[in-house]
Amino acid sequence: MTAKPKIAVYKMSSCAGCQLEILNLEHVLLDVINAVDLSYFVMARRDSEPGPYQIGLVEGAVTCGEEIEKLKQARKECETLVALGSCACYGGLPSIKNWTPQRVVESRVYENPAAIHSTTAYGIDYYVAVDAYLKGCPINKEELVEFIKSALLGAKPYLRPHSVCVECKLYENVCVAVSEDIPCMGPVTTAGCGALCPANHKACDGCRGPADDTNAKSLAQTFKEHGLNPGDIKRKFHKFAGMTPEFDKGADIL
């Protein structure tokens, strides 16, 4: 085989949970290290090898000017740029702040907000071209491994594009929406997590963002019929992926 592909891990505004998932690949970590070169990975190593890299994994939302610069640099030095996790895909949880005027949010946290240079939280594709999206908060490790393997094979990875409901059915979970009347985001959210929340008897929180052919409006309507007020519905859609037009439509219900 040819030289091991070089991988860089970048961090923007995030909790580091997605990159931790790389180290959480214990059962295959040594195989991963055999197959690829984690060349730039500040969380795990002191020395870093300079670019260019074949694959750049970008974690986190972009929330300030420095990050925009850093991101553009990353785009330049990576052949394939991957949004790692929902923050990088859609702005993630940090994007909740976007729905309140920036000044108001800042003044809740800082005594002297004038010097804060925080920008609207966006996913990375707002600024640069992105080749692949590993959704989830955090990402699903299996999908990451799937992605790495496909990259080694030069193929497009199989990442589920459909709703969480599909996986709920494959694992025969009791549907929290139908059987317990708990408002669930599963029908509009991308699968790939193994329908984790419903499997744990909890509504899907929409962390993986809109699935293919999302009909958020219709789901929001159902939420309303089941007694949620507009504030509740807004909070559901303006959460991990509120910046996507698909979920924004759900939040729009009156």
Binding site: K11, S13, S14, C15, A16, G17, C18, L20, E21, L23, N24, E26, H27, L29, L30, I33, L38, F41, V42, M43, A44, R45, R46, D47, T63, C64, E66, E67, G92, L93, P94, I96, K97, T100, V104, V105, E106, R108, V109, Y110, E111, N112, P113, A114, A115, I116, S118, A121, C137, P138, L196, C197, A199, N200, H201, K202, D205, D232, R235, K239
Partner: protein, 427 residues
């Protein structure tokens, strides 16, 4: 002669920080532990969200100790609504916390600290020469993660912990399976203590206040009062009257201190120092065999304290699994407005959450202080004392040593950046 120690990206810590020290004629001119993670405004955007979203949201403050944030926020909210949980819920939360100790301590000892002491740049580099050691680390870490996933549904950002209980209680059979694995892991934990005890520990002691939760009857994790080596003894609701933050000109981070006194340290070393007698018998025995005495004020022994806690975590987990009967419980409750407080011991140290919620359950105010925010002040104080002692070393060596001082704390910069009120000095 002037010298500059500059670490642009502090490696093997969670989050992004830098270290900048300027020395002139043997004297420190400036010392900055810079945190350049941009703020994410959790405390800002929590306002207006519903109380039951809080655990899931605060979890995302930190991917390394999400369960600690979740459980602490849940306890603060329960405090606000006057909810008392069952013994089973307490035990499961404890077990969840212990699983995170196992995971996080193993990660720190083997992947973040060991390379420093054994002379490698990373665990990946170490793997070539120390394969069995690395494999042991992976095994232990996986066990911690698996246990977190079993109780919490997932290792990073678990999902089951909820107000007044768990959305899903693990099956007794499942947990019993873990007992066997934990029994087997005990040996690995003891080996870890031995390994850490071989690390060359710099001779460095600094007299500072060590702060931790203390519960009297068990090794404190998420209950008890906050106590210290200098006589602090308060409960969660008194936190703000005793612990505050101030801005220092030389640093961009806000500095936590005990009112009327100084910076302080939280984390495994203070915990072991303050609660040594409550460690499991085997943990105490393992500690005794190292020949290191506690209480101990050399921060480089933090890794050893972690290893000792690892043994204790394994023992405690087994104990809890043995006594848990596990049945589905009624987790319903009534929403009430109010203010609540909680203090817990996350793997990295004391964590504080407090909320005010209104009658509809909407958050009106949130106050969160994570362990690293507590420690930053102390890290800098350590460095002020430490740096003069390494000035004779090569630049490279001195830099590494300074980084190690920071890594002793296993800092979690994402956490701190999002809660410390950054020093925003206008130029």
């Amino acid at each position: 002669m002037s010298k500059q120690i500059k670490v642009d990206y502090l490696a093997r810590v969670e989050g992004e920080g830098a270290l900048d020290i300027k020395v002139k004629d043997g004297e420190i001119q400036s010392l900055q532990l810079r945190i350049f993670e941009p703020p994410r405004f959790f405390q800002g955007f929590l306002v207006g969200r519903k109380f039951d979203e809080v655990p899931g949201i605060v979890s995302r403050i930190c991917g390394i100790c999400p369960a600690a944030h979740q459980v602490t926020s849940i306890m603060a909210l329960e405090d606000a609504m006057g909810i008392k949980v069952t013994r089973q819920t307490q035990d499961l939360r404890r077990l969840l916390a212990l699983s995170q100790y196992i995971q996080s301590h193993t990660l720190h000892i083997y992947m973040l600290a060991a390379p420093d002491f054994l002379g490698y740049e990373s665990v990946m580099a170490m793997a070539a020469d120390y394969k069995p050691v690395v494999e042991r680390a992976l095994k232990l870490k996986r066990l911690g993660n698996d246990l977190t996933a079993c109780i919490g549904g997932r290792e990073v950002h678990p999902v089951t912990a909820a107000i007044n209980g768990f959305t899903k209680v693990p099956a007794k059979k499942e947990l019993e399976g873990f007992k066997q694995k934990l029994l087997a892991a005990k040996e690995d934990a003891l080996e870890t203590v031995k390994l850490v005890n071989t690390f060359p520990i710099p001779d460095f002691t600094r007299d500072c206040e060590h702060v931790a939760l203390s519960q009297g009857s068990v090794y404190a994790l998420n209950e008890g009062n906050l106590v210290s080596t200098k006589g602090l003894h308060i409960s969660a609701w008194q936190y703000r009257s005793h612990i505050q933050e101030k801005q220092e000109v030389h640093s961009s981070a806000l500095h936590s201190y005990v009112v009327g006194r100084n910076s302080f340290m939280v984390g495994p070393l203070p915990r072991v120092n303050l609660n040594f007698d409550l460690l499991s018998e085997d943990a105490k025995k393992a500690a005794a065999e190292t020949g290191v005495s506690f209480p101990n004020f050399n921060p480089f022994y933090s890794a050893l304290a972690r290893a000792i806690e690892l043994v204790d975590a394994v023992d405690q987990s087994i104990e809890i699994i043995d006594r848990l009967e596990l049945r589905e419980e009624d987790t319903s409750f009534e929403i009430k407005g109010g203010q609540g407080f909680a203090l817990t011991e996350a793997p990295r140290g004391t964590l504080y959450h407090s909320y005010i919620i209104n009658e509809q359950g909407i958050v009106e105010e949130a106050d969160i202080v994570p362990p690293t925010a507590h420690n930053v002040n102390n890290m800098e104080k350590d460095l002020w004392q430490f740096v003069p002692g390494v000035l004779d070393l090569s630049h490279e060596e001195a830099t590494l040593r300074c980084e190690m001082v920071v890594r002793n704390y296993d800092p979690c910069i994402s956490c701190s950046a999002h809660f410390l009120k950054l020093n925003i000095s206008e130029v």
